[in-house]
């Protein structure tokens, strides 16, 4: 138990270091992006030189690099992620407004994808049937071959909820991974041994095969969260759903780097935390 707590503490220390590294990377991207510190108000010929200098000083273009990083990181520690250039609003406020919708969409989407892929995976292993296997392969193959943006457009056309789109993007990859793991475990010699001793197929599956694969399947939680957040961008953007994905897309189109890098940093920390947590639970169970 103590070792596990130490390991967990170490993981969260790594997460803290990553947050700092990510923040510095974001600050660097913003600082060195082409057009940093340029404001279209400067083109107004009615403004005096003093006014132009005042506008430039708002961006801090004259400050040294270490001072800029210090200002950025201390702002982050106070919960100040800067202001959006094109929406002219604090980034924290925008994230606070948009994140509940994305959290709901991604959460329900992941839940639907996990339930669907697990049921189909278990059915394909429990009732081995060429027809079922080929149908599942064809369905997942077709879904993998569709770009997420096309799925988004289909959902706009059908007026279906966005979370189902996220489920549809994540489901095929989850199914294939789970099915491969289950099939590998199901072909182990102990399964044949159990079968020859008269153990029922349900008991073999639920008492022997699933406990063997559940740790690697759990490790997939973080990756699936990352896939779902990635899919949220085209789905929310094209379905006009006002979440973080749509905000990131708008920020990219308007080259609003303070907003875009802050969203990326938040989503990154979230997915890395989910990954670490899944990893820690897996280690705890296996130890």
């Amino acid at each position: 138990m103590f070792t596990w707590v130490v390991k967990l503490g170490r993981k969260f220390a790594v997460l803290g270091a990553l947050a700092l590294l990510g923040a510095l990377l974001c600050a660097t991207m913003i600082r060195f992006a082409p057009g940093y510190g340029v404001d279209e108000r400067e083109l107004d010929s009615r403004l005096s030189q003093e006014s132009r200098d005042a506008i430039r000083s708002e961006y801090g273009t004259a400050e040294t690099l270490p001072h800029y990083y210090r200002r950025y990181v201390s702002g982050l520690l106070r919960g100040d992620l800067g202001a959006s250039v094109f929406l002219q609003r604090p980034v924290v406020q925008l994230i606070r407004e948009r994140s509940p919708l994305t959290a709901r969409t991604v959460g329900f989407g992941l839940l639907a994808a996990w339930i669907g892929s697990s049921i189909l995976g278990l059915l394909a292993i429990r009732f081995p049937n060429a027809m079922l296997n080929y149908s599942a392969m064809a369905l997942t193959g077709f879904l993998i071959a569709l770009p997420a943006a096309v799925i988004a457009l289909l959902f706009v056309f059908w007026r279906a909820p966005v979370f189902l789109g996220i489920a549809l993007v994540t489901f095929p990859k989850l199914y294939r991974y789970q099915h491969n793991l289950l099939a590998q475990a199901h072909s182990q010699p102990f399964v044949f041994a159990a079968r020859t001793r008269g153990v029922s197929e349900n008991r073999i599956l639920f008492r022997h095969v699933i406990p063997l694969v559940w740790a690697p399947v759990l490790a997939l939680t973080g990756v699936s969260a990352s896939m779902a957040f990635g899919a949220a961008i085209p789905l929310e953007a094209l379905s006009d759903s006002p979440g973080m994905g749509q905000l990131a897309w708008q920020a990219a189109l308007n080259r609003d780097l303070p907003l875009l890098t802050s969203i990326t940093l938040c989503v990154t920390l979230l997915t890395v935390a989910v990954n670490f947590l899944a990893d820690a639970i897996g280690q705890r169970k296996s130890s």
Binding site: L18, M29, A33, P34, G35, M137, G141, F142, I144, A145, L146, P147, A148, A149, V150, L153, F157, G222, V223, S226, M227, F229, G230, A231, I233, P234, A237, L238, A248, W249, A251, A252, L253, R255, D256, L257, L260, T261, I263, T264, V267, T268, T271, V272, N275
Partner: protein
């Protein structure tokens, strides 16, 4: 047997589509950006095989040249990703110890990041009004630079196995340096793995480019790609009236499925 049939059909379709992309000039004599302003939204005819788009550009020509952009540059990006994965993964597996742990930790971190967020963040770093040619290069170089982590894990595992083999011990005893071991022993021996990883990356990059371009963050107009040709799908009315405009989508789906079938049949020999 079925696997072999699938593989044969997939190879044939891919060969046709690649020929279509490589010899685009032989299939159409119009430039892809030429506008027939008197013929916007024209129906298919002998002059314009798939009709024209809302700007009067020949759709067949745009599909042919779009296929070239998507299908020739995705392998280039896959090559870049595989090269990064082979050098870093090979080195990590070969050296082991802290170097391996650091490279794998960095890889795990990149794998857990949402690729799409990183892609649009890097893409937004560049101005949006860059030339179409530069947008193609930027899109595929970004894909190549960010698409290597999953391949690296596979390469590293294989290279680690190789590290303990007898011929590597012999090479070490002969006085090979680490660089010589990597480039003369590890990389040549892992060629089938690189090929598989390269093959896996191509459809992934084709799909990512399509989504990026549909969102206006990939290949820029007037240069066509499968992705920006699919932007027309947003107009449902025009799509249902002119279903042949879905041909780029059909081509994309068929190509990706062919790549999957070839991979699947290689994994499970008949």
């Amino acid at each position: 047997m079925i696997q072999r049939v699938f593989r044969g059909v997939s190879w044939s379709i891919l060969a046709i589509v690649f020929a279509f992309a490589l010899f685009a000039e032989g299939f159409t004599h119009y430039p892809y950006a030429r506008q027939f302003r008197e013929l916007p939204n024209a129906a298919p005819s002998t002059v314009h095989l798939l009709g024209t788009d809302d700007l009067g550009r020949d759709l067949f020509t745009r599909v042919v040249y779009g296929t070239r952009v998507s299908l020739l540059l995705a392998p280039a990006a896959a090559l870049l990703a595989t090269a990064i994965a082979s050098i870093l993964g090979g080195l990590a597996g070969l050296r082991g110890g802290r170097l391996e742990s650091s490279i794998l930790a960095f890889t795990d971190l990149l794998m857990s990041l949402p690729l799409f967020f990183l892609l649009i963040a890097l893409r937004a770093f560049l101005p949006l009004d860059i030339s179409p040619l530069l947008s193609v290069v930027a899109t595929f170089v970004t894909l190549g630079l960010l698409g290597w982590p999953s391949s690296l894990r596979v390469v590293c595992a294989a290279s680690r196995n190789l590290r303990q083999s007898e011929h590597m011990l012999l090479a070490r005893a002969t006085g090979y340096s680490n660089a010589q071991l990597l480039f003369r022993q590890v990389i040549p021996n892992l060629r089938p793995i690189f090929l598989a990883q390269f093959w896996i990356s191509i459809p992934l990059f084709i799909l990512t480019e399509a989504t990026l371009s549909m969102l206006g963050l990939g290949v820029m107009e007037p240069l066509p790609s499968w992705g920006n040709l699919l932007r027309g799908c947003e107009d449902f009315g025009a799509m249902s009236a002119n279903p042949w405009r879905l041909i780029p989508l059909l081509l994309l789906v068929i190509t990706v499925i062919c790549f999957q079938l070839i991979l699947h049949s290689t994994e499970e020999p008949a």
